[in-house]
């Protein structure tokens, strides 16, 4: 930074300040899947309307002084005190809310991803007009009057393949009088999965089959009961073997079969000479295509094989593998 020209250093300084602010807020409000709002996390300051109201109060005070009118003094002081009280009431309208991250819907680039949050109150109080907004994306509002919790859906546009982090969520409220704004920025540690952008290719070179047509394969359809297997994360709760569980057994999932007629392998090597992103895009396109046709398909990536299968869960596994190919980190 030393010796940098004034104009050149300006964005630098700003970037550094932003960085410092990010560090500070991360220390103060660390990322977490569930946050209860309290005085440590809430900021409060008069809103623009509040400043305007202050100006009105000043005019009223001048009128009271110039007309020597005691009741005008009284009204002015009453409203000034109301302003100060609004600070407490506005703070109370956010304090005690618990925000839990629920899930982020995966999306293709250029689409909107949807984040779902659950907001519940830990205090017996009515909450009104609480607004939620990611830095980019839609906003939503919530009242908690008769119910103890509600869910919030927020859309945000996504662009790049991989994990999309929407930034911090801004929660704010000016209830009851609009004179004071209370807000917080929380990081719910929510990441949305962004799939590769599907890119059609003329045809799929070298279809590789490895299964005879028409073999019965256990797939997660739900036509015929097939057997049990141990519960794996992501299995539908509907298919958990509750009765067995009630008898004190392990958590098991019921399996059903559907009949797939043939299976295809989608292979990284099918697109020689193309760049990583392009290959992924083509693979993505074909995966979607086969899924649409109801064909079984598998995936071979340089570091990962997924056996052919069909169905929604399978499609998601495939797409996730494509989305995260070569991407480090991200949420567990």
């Amino acid at each position: 930074m030393a010796g940098a020209a004034g104009t050149g250093s300006n964005p630098d300084i700003r970037a550094r300040l932003r960085q410092r602010f990010r560090e500070w807020i991360n220390r103060r409000i660390p990322p977490s899947r569930s946050v209860v709002l309290d005085q440590k996390r809430l900021f409060i300051f008069p809103s623009g309307v509040g400043f305007f109201f202050g100006l009105c109060l000043l005019v009223m005070l001048l009128a009271a002084i110039n007309f020597q009118n005691n009741l005008s003094y009284g009204l002015t002081f009453l409203l000034a005190t109301l302003f100060v009280l609004a600070v407490l009431h506005t703070f109370a309208n956010l304090s005690g809310l618990e925000i839990q991250a629920i899930r982020a819907r995966p999306a293709f680039p250029g689409q909107q991803t949807e984040f779902e949050l659950r907001v519940s109150r830990t205090k017996k109080r009515e909450y009104f007009g609480v607004f939620f907004r990611f830095e980019q994306g839609s906003s939503a509002r919530l009242n908690l009057v008769d119910e103890d919790s509600g869910s919030i859906h927020l859309m945000a546009p996504v662009e790049k393949r991989g994990w999309h982090h929407p930034g911090r969520l801004r929660i704010e409220s000016t209830y009851p009088l609009g004179l004071v704004r209370c807000w917080t920025w929380i990081d719910l540690d929510l990441h949305a999965l962004v799939y590769p952008r599907p890119l059609p290719s003329a045809e799929l070179p070298g279809l590789a089959k490895d299964q005879p047509d028409g073999a019965a394969m256990p797939v997660a359809g739900s036509d015929d009961f097939f057997g049990f297997r141990d519960y794996r994360e992501g299995d539908s709760l509907r298919q958990i073997h509750w009765k067995g569980l009630a008898r004190g057994g392990k958590v098991q999932t019921k399996q059903y079969t559907a009949y797939a007629d043939r299976s295809v392998w989608l292979d990284w090597e099918m697109f020689p000479g193309l760049g990583t992103e392009q290959r992924l895009s083509h693979l993505c396109y074909w995966a979607l295509e086969f899924d649409r046709q109801g064909q079984e398909y598998g995936l071979r990536l340089p570091d990962l094989n997924i056996a052919p299968d069909v169905g929604e869960r399978h499609r998601e596994r495939i797409l996730q593998a494509l989305a995260l190919y070569g991407i480090e980190g991200g949420p567990s």
Binding site: P30, Q68, F77, K123, F131, S332
Partner: protein, 661 residues
């Protein structure tokens, strides 16, 4: 429109409601068309809301604004002054409703509403008006609350509760500020109430002026004596001293009409006992204040004029509280300066020849000024003079002659004027004094209530070596007026309070009505002495009573302490609200699980999510890694399970937790 900017339907109803309640106290003060503008604007806005009409476009809005200005100009003949300004403010307030589409418009409208409430106080500070305004403040605040409750689409009274609570919580600190905020003088001159009638005495007196006042039952001022109230015939409340006669009308000398060395009163020697009392005057839009003979006041802004009347530098536009000390036995100007003598003897022209002849006759027949006075009073007492509120009209020319030798019936101003004419014509310095005589003692709090119908005019005559002495010719004609008051004096006429048929004063015979009136008057007195008449003198008194010697540090401490005292209960109630008893069952189980792990040495950090915690715990307790993972999985799955499967999921969670040991 942004989500935050929408106006909930309920708020719209509250805003329209507030609008009409706010114009109510002003109805008597504004032209009727302003009220119609309110109705029209509300109707238009409702049609917009129903989607029938649309918001006005800018040419229409401009037209409406110009029309409003023209209307004000037409109704008031001026734009300057308080009433036209208020009428304009109210019209703008109504028209703003036609722009109300977003939340920011509503803010402007409602803050303007608060200001409209303030303007009511500039005209009246009556208790009932103030209660009405306080409830209006609650309504405007309720509209503001409703504005921030998105999704309330049906009219409901619920916002009213919060606004009432918040304003109630604001009152204690408001009172502290009210009594502690330094009262400084006006920073610049403000438009006065051009249209407001100057009530009470005017500063010149034509025949008929005082009798008009006698038809009103309004209160002129209230007096609280320290100690006993003097007898009725001692209660001569001097207001205006009139030494100048012009065209048959008496008026007082202005401060600058006197040469510079005559502008200050000659300080009398203070002899005898003094009376102390405080007076709260109703607003008069005039300068003078009332006191008994030779009164002095230490209040800032009250000055003693050269003719010993008290006046205030600024007009009395609100209830005015002041304290007076009076020496009834003091001699006023035992020696008269040349200029003063000349002024108090001036009787211009040569009209009223019979009166002048009578005066000369009296002067030549008597040995001195005292005898002349006695002769004149004897004339009034012995000849058939009558005391009446509705005397026959007198001619313009030689009216005093017509009165003394013709009609011989009149009200106090006729007698005072005729008497001073006689005295001056006879060479005795004399002048007319106008003010009030008597008053009603309120048994509830011991104040003396002086009504407008106690208005009275009498004379002051100067005797060599003795100074100015009060002479009341009316007492010679109608002694009842002084001893029993106007009502008794006029009992045969039925003209008492002819203009106020419903005044409670007319029902003084009905005991409970009278009791109620006197109680309400006592409340009003207290209200005026503590609220509307509160000023810097009163403030200083209050603070020194409470906190001893006054200092800036003490002041700051008091303010701070008061603030803490006032806000502490609010903070406590808001912060320590009951936790919801209904903790979700799954969370209760999960917390049990956390406790188990904590006993094994892995505590869950504040704000640590379940996933993170599970990972950390598995790493530290490898033998339980599988069970911990399972609990976490079931717990997370359960959070999003449909309600129908919750019961099962809970069992599952409970058994998974059991296995963690």
């Amino acid at each position: 429109m942004k989500l935050e900017q929408q106006i909930p339907r309920n708020a719209l109803v509250w805003i329209v409601l507030a609008l009409f309640l706010l114009v109510a106290p002003h109805v008597q003060r504004v032209p009727i068309w302003v009220v119609l503008v309110f109705v029209a604007a509300a109707g238009w806005r409702i049609m917009v809301y129903r989607g029938v009409w649309s918001f006005p476009r800018w040419p229409v809005k401009l037209g409406l604004i110009l029309a409003a200005f023209a209307g004000i100009l037409f109704s008031f003949r001026t734009i300057v002054g308080l009433e036209p300004t208020v009428a304009l403010l109210l019209t703008a307030f109504a028209l703003k409703l036609l722009e109300l589409s977003e939340r920011k418009d509503a803010y402007v409208l409602l803050f303007l509403g608060y200001f409209v409430i303030l303007t009511v106080f500039l005209f009246s500070q009556d208790i009932l008006v103030v209660l009405l305004c306080l409830s209006n403040t609650v309504v405007v605040t309720a509209a503001l609350v409703a504005l921030h409750r998105p999704g309330e689409d049906r009219f409901t009274f619920r916002p009213l509760r919060l606004s009432t609570v918040m304003l109630a919580q604001s009152i204690p600190l408001m009172l502290v500020l009210f009594f502690l905020f330094p009262r400084i003088g006006p920073l610049w001159t403000v438009p006065i109430k051009s249209q407001a009638a100057r009530t009470g005495m005017s500063d010149f007196m034509k025949p008929g002026d005082v009798s008009r006042l006698s038809r009103s039952g309004d209160v002129a001022f209230r007096v609280q004596f320290e100690g006993d109230v003097p007898a009725q015939d001692q209660l001569y409340w001097r207001g205006i001293v009139m030494s100048r006669l012009r065209g048959g009308a008496w008026s007082s000398l202005s401060h600058f009409a006197a040469p510079p060395d005559e502008r200050k009163p000659v300080e009398p020697e203070l002899v005898g006992d003094s009376l102390r009392y405080s007076i709260i005057m109703e607003p008069t839009q005039q300068h003078w204040v009332y006191s008994l003979r030779y009164g002095r006041s230490n209040d800032s802004g009250i000055v003693n004029a050269a003719d010993y009347r008290l006046f205030r530098m600024t007009e009395i536009e609100d209830d005015y509280f002041y304290e007076v000390q009076t020496w009834p036995d003091a001699q006023l100007e035992p020696t008269l300066s040349e200029w003063r003598r000349e002024v108090e003897l001036r009787l211009p022209g040569d009209n009223n020849p019979r009166m002048r002849a009578l005066a000369r006759e009296m002067a030549s027949a008597s040995g001195g000024s005292r005898e002349i006075v006695d002769q004149a009073l004897a004339l009034f007492a012995n000849e058939p003079f009558g005391y009446t509120l509705s005397p026959p009209l007198l001619p313009e020319q030689d009216s005093i002659d017509a009165f003394l030798f013709g009609t011989r019936s009149g009200f106090c101003e006729h007698y005072a004027s005729a008497f001073v004419h006689l005295m001056r014509a006879a060479g005795v310095p004399a002048r007319v004094v106008a003010g009030y005589q008597g008053g009603e003692i309120n048994p509830v709090n011991g104040t003396v209530i002086v009504h407008q119908f106690d208005a009275h005019a009498w004379a002051e005559v100067w005797h060599e070596g003795e100074g100015w002495v009060r002479v009341d010719p009316t007492a010679a004609v109608s002694p009842e007026r002084i001893e029993l008051g106007l009502e008794e004096a006029l009992s045969g006429e039925g003209s008492f309070l002819a203009d106020s048929p419903l005044s409670p004063l007319r029902f003084r015979g009905v005991n409970w009505v009278n009791q109620l009136r006197l109680r309400y008057d006592a409340i009003t007195y207290r209200w005026q002495s503590w609220v509307t008449g509160f000023d810097s003198d009163r403030q200083y008194q209050l603070l020194s009573n409470w906190f001893g010697e006054f200092s800036a540090q003490k002041f700051a401490l008091v303010l701070l302490g008061a603030g803490v005292l006032v806000f502490a209960p609010v903070v406590i109630t808001l912060m320590l609200q009951r936790k919801t008893v209904q903790q979700r069952e799954m969370d209760r189980l999960y917390l049990k699980f956390c406790e188990r792990l904590a006993r094994m040495g892995v505590e869950r950090g504040a704000g640590e999510g379940p996933d993170q915690y599970a990972r950390r715990a598995s790493a530290q307790l490898p033998r339980l890694a599988e069970q911990i993972g399972e609990v976490n999985r079931v717990y997370q799955a359960l959070a999003y399970a449909p309600a129908a499967q919750e019961a099962r999921g809970l069992q599952q969670l409970a058994s998974a937790i059991k296995r963690v040991n």
